[in-house]
Symmetry: C2
Subunit: 124 residues, 2 copies
Amino acid sequence: MTIAETSRKYKVTADTLRYYERIGLIPPVPRTKGGIRDYDEESCRWIELMKCLRSAGVQIEALIEYAALYRQGEGTMERRKDILVEQRAQLLDRMGEIQNSLDRLNCKIEKYEKILGRKDGPGL
Amino acid sequence: MTIAETSRKYKVTADTLRYYERIGLIPPVPRTKGGIRDYDEESCRWIELMKCLRSAGVQIEALIEYAALYRQGEGTMERRKDILVEQRAQLLDRMGEIQNSLDRLNCKIEKYEKILGRKDGPGL
DNA sequence: TATTGACTTTGAGTATACTCCAGGTATTAT
DNA sequence: ATAATACCTGGAGTATACTCAAAGTCAATA
């Protein structure tokens, strides 16, 4: 799979794919003799995981550390788990902050709707 | 209320408070004759609102526009509501992305725990 | 009144996470 | 064979949101 195809499949730019590989967010991608990236199953799984976690705002630094430990083998499992647990805690915090903001927005929007008249209110 | 007191109260640095005022995220803060900021009730309400929305990741640009419209008066209510509705939609999207990541992290953490043995597992 | 510490502005610097560009190589179509 | 297109690397540039620094002013106190 070329970088263009992978880019399309995961809706991540080629530049970002190369960037993620360069900083170690995903392991080195296999190459053709010519030196061109040929994304395989494993590369794709990493891309999908990182895309998911990044879209939720997980810090790249933590993900780089996780990926580096993964490549170091079995002895790093404890630490890897700790990273995931820490990131989970951070996401739960973020979730709470978003919920607070949502409550606040809902309350304000309701006030505006009361004043402006709901668009989908009763016909007469 | 001085900037230092306000900074302590809302856990926002003085630099950030000045920055928010400068870019119009909060309305101009009243000053003493000497030109020193004297935060009042209304300033505080704005700070609290912005702190809440920013912590959830709402873009500063949208908040600046909201604050600017607010200062322009009643005629801007429709647009102000629209901004809030749009930001709410974005927060709901983010919420979903975080939930996806949480599901994923939970699944991975469980696997690690199964292999490593739960710390809080049964004593024998 | 003089010094200390908090405050002021303006503008530059930083961190994070990309994003783009130049100059060159590889692959595909004609 | 050659032209067009996709890919490569290394490094510079950008956007967002602060954060810090310099040089000066204000306020409380000894």
